[in-house]
Amino acid sequence: MTDTKRDRMIEVRNLKKYFPLEKGFFSSLFSKGDQKYLKAVDGISFSIHAGEILGLAGESGCGKTTTAKTLVGLYPPTEGKVLFGGEEITALMVRDRKKWARTAQYVFQNPYESLNPRQTVLETVMEGLRIHHLGTREERGGMAARALAHVKMMPPEDFFDRFPHQLSGGQRQRVSIARTLVLNPKLLIADEPVSMLDVSIRAEIINLLKELTEEMNLASLFISHDISLIRYICDRTAIMYLGKIVEIGPTEEIISDPRHPYTQLLLSAVPVTDPDAGRVRIKLQGDVPNPIDLPAGCRFGPRCDRAAEACRRQEPGEVQVGPDHFVLCHRL
C-alpha cells in the first residue's frame, strides 16, 4: 500500500505467516495430499510513522496477534518484508532477535500472567537492562526509576520491592509497559492491553499509551477487538479479516464512512449505551469460516450481503477510496 511521503518508521510489505498443520500418522502414510497450512497472516501491508498509533482491529482468529508476534520477532515470517527507517530488517528480526528487541517491544494482554510472580517490580523492570548490559549497576536503579515514573507509578522507589500479587491489575500493566521503556524502543506493540482490566481504569492505561507515543515519538501498534477503544486512541486503523487487511485508513474516516462490508458489519454490531439510539443492524449470514479451508475468491464472500460472481472467483485487489484510505473489495 502506498502512503504519503513522511518519515516512515515501520513498513510492512506483503507479510505472510503460515503455520504447517501436522498430519495424523495414518493420513501422512496413506494420503498424498499437500501439506496443509493455517494461513494466519496472508499478505498484509501497512506502515506506522513515528508518533502515530495504528489500530489493528478484528475478531478472534483474524491474525492480529500473529501479526504482532511476527513483527516483534517471535515468529519468523513465511514471506514478506519488514522495513525500519527505510532499511530492510526482515532477516535481522529473526537472526538477531536480541538486537531487534532494542527496537521493537510488546505489551501483553494479561497483566496477571505477564509478570513473573517471583520477581520484584525492580527486577522485572531491570531485566531488559541486565539482558542487554545497559548501564552500570548503580545506574540501573535510576533507569528503572525513570521508567516507572514515566508510567506514573510514583514515587518509583515505593514500588521497587513489591511483588506482582501486591499490585492491582492497572499497576501490573504499567510495570509491563515500564519494562519495555527501559530499552528505549522505537516500535511498541500493545496487544489488547486493557481487555482484562476493569472498565473504570482502562482509560489510565490507554491515555498513558497515547502520551508515551507522543513523548517518545514511538510508532505504536494497538491491537484490539474493541472498535470503540480503537476510535479513542488510534490515528489510523486497519481492519483484519481471516489474515488480510480488508480496510485501512484514518480512524475517524473508517468509522464514519466504512467502505468494506465487513467493516460495516463490525461497526453495526457494536452495542451503544443510549437506549434510544436504534442501531441499524446488518444481517449476518453464516458463521465464521474455517481459517484452514479458506473459500476461493474473497474470503468474506460467504457472509457478505452483496457478494457477486466476481467475488467468488477472484480475490479482490486493493482499491483506493480516499487519500489515505484503502479497501479490499470488488463491490464498491
Binding site: L74, R97, Y106, F108, R118, T120, E127, I131, R179
Partner: protein, 290 residues
Amino acid sequence: MNRKVKFFFQSQVDVFRGDWLGIAGAIILGCFILMAVFAPLIAPYKPDEMIYRDGRLQRLQPPSLRHPFGTTQMGHDIFSQVIYGSRAAVLVGVLSAVLVSIIGTSVGIISGYYGGTIDAFLMRLVDLSFGIPFLPFIIILVALTGLTFWNVVIGITLLLWRTPARVIRSQVLSLKTRPFVEASRVLGASNFRIMVFQIAPNVLPLTFANTALAMGWAILTEANISFLGYGDPRMASWGKVLFQVYILQAMTIAWWWVLAPGLAIILLVLSGFFIGRAYEKVTNPRLKEF
C-alpha cells in the same frame, strides 16, 4: 535484596500454616538434626561401648532410667546408638535429597523447556532408570565399589533423581507457555537466562516438595542397606542396630532392641513425607481469594 529474602522465608512459613502434620514433620526433623549435630554431647555412652556395672556386662537389659532404650546383647546402650545413628540417617538423607533435587530439577527444566530431541533423550534415560530396581542396584553397587557411606549416597542419587525429573518437567511444560516467559523472550533473554531466572524460581515449591520426599526415601534406603548388612561398618546406623538384632534372632526376647531404632526410622521418614506433602499442597492451584 533484603525484601526478597524476607519474602522467601515468609513463603516457607506460609507453606506450613494450618498444616499440623507438616509442622510436626518439621519439628521432628529439627529434633533429629539437633540430635545429629550434638550427638557426642547428648549421648551418655559411645554407641559401641561395652558397659560394665559391678563388673558385669550389661547384656540385654530392658529399658530403665539408666538405659532408656535398654541394652544390646553386647552391652551397648541402645539410646546412644539411636542418637549416634541419627548422624548417618540425617547425613544420608539430607545429602542425597539435595543432590537428587539438583540433578532432577536441572534435568526436568532442561527437558521440559527445550522439548524435542533433548527432551526425548533425557526422558528415555529416566525411563531406563525407572526400569532398574532400586535396592538391588544399590546393593550391587556397594558390593562392587566398597561398603562406604559415600557409595551409598552415590547409589541413591544415581536413581532417585528420576522422579523429580519427571515431575518438574511436567510443571515446566505448562510454565513455559505462560506469558511472562514469552515476555522475557521478547525482551531478548537467552534460553539459559529464561530457565534460570524465570522458570527455576517458579518450580521451587515443587523442588522443595521433592527434596523432602527424597529425603524420606533416602533414609529408608540407608536403613534398608544397613539392615541387609551392606552399610558402612564403621558408621553407627539404625539399620545396623536392626541388623544385629536380626542376626542374633533376638527380636522375641529383646523387644526394646527393635523398637527404638525402628521408631526412629519411622519418625524421621514420616517427617520427610509430611514436609513434602505440605509443599505439594502449595503447588496445587490455589483458589483465588477476594
